[in-house]
Amino acid sequence: MQAVNRGRDHCYNRAVPLAERVRALAVSALVMAAVLWPLTWHADRDSFPLSSYPMFAHNRRSAVLTAVYAVARDARGERRYVPPEVIANREVLQARAVLDRAARGGKKGVAILCGEVAARIAAGQGGAPLSSAVEVQILRGRHDAGRYFDTGELGEEKVLGRCPVTR
């Protein structure tokens, strides 16, 4: 008897009022369709909270990295990489996005970001390592990561913009 009842209770169609069944079905169908929808997206499309999770999926053909980054130089010409919290916030990828966007904005975009970074360094952001900086440079570099980790050598760099750190 118990087994029979259990079987009946097991069946959602019999045990639950119609409105609740419809709600369960609608929510399940909607959520499943939504999470699978990104399968139809192009490679360069992403969103939140729905995503096709394209990170690290692209067919990288070599370890060569083209990146935009910022360095702070002191009076002797020694340089230090400007950390993400001075460029954007503590997220490295956020800093990358800000730098890439500035570079896409051409000389004007680079000049604006460079000025902002220099002002933050002048205000003490970046702490002791950047306290002697006199100039900020925004660079685009093309480096072979494999070679860098073997020999410590970087590749080519191009200065996209520079600005003084005025205290």
Partner: protein, 310 residues
Amino acid sequence: MKRLLAAIGRWLAPETPAERLAAVRVLVGSFSLVYLGLRIPHIASYLSFPARQFQPVGLLAVLEHPPPGAAVLAVLALAWLATLGFTLGWRYRVSGPLAAAMLLVSFTYANSWGQIFHTENALVLSVLVLAVTRAADSASLDARGREPPPPHPRYGWPLRLLCVVVVATYFLAGIAKLRWGGPGWLGGTVLRDTIAADSLRKILLGSAHSPIAEVLLGQAWMFRALAVLTLVVELGAPLALLHRRVAAVWVLAVIAFHLGVLALMTILFPFPLSGVAFAPFFRAERVTGWAAARARRFRARRSPAGSAAP
């Protein structure tokens, strides 16, 4: 045909104790409370960003300009308070959907500045699903003084759906690697070059990179193995829906995968690494039951009546 439909129905909505769904609510809610609390400074850091960097996504894509700072702070405060209500199961019909909506807005805002992080997707989707279910019928302030309801399919389908959501996040990531990475991904060179480039990028951006990656980059065979294992874990994710034991093996593999990502790329995925993301696969009520029993014992030890007892 009728039998098949009944079997599918049973699979989609298995008879489940209310305590299990409630336990998942408590676990996901507790995680969200702590996580949001820790992430508020990060989310608030975008208030100082110039408006030109605002690139809204998802729900916020309709905005042309970033929302005012006061509105962002109000949403964050409301998100935290509503998530507290969600976790405690207090006025759940309001606090559940409100927590889901506010968390969605908060994290969408944080992903709307040109970089989507992918660390909060599964968390937000889990809260969204839980918010529209009867997850507060047990172990909640709303259910105080009531007899626990009997096991029912209405507590089963949300858990099954949550499992599907978690599985889908990994499966889609695997599909993306096959679609856009191609066979090169399986060979391991794409993975090795990606990790090498990522490490160098972190150096150039003045951030910490993984010393482990630096040491292992020369071991091509290892990246071949890691690439295959990554795809097995991601594309094999749907197998976790078949049986709890398979799910246990898969979850261990996923946690190992995330530990590998953390070790090689210094990228932390807190929701899966905490294990909470996978609670819907298991008898989560055992965890909350254990925690509740510990709390009761602790209270009993501290209470004067308890200490006076012979």
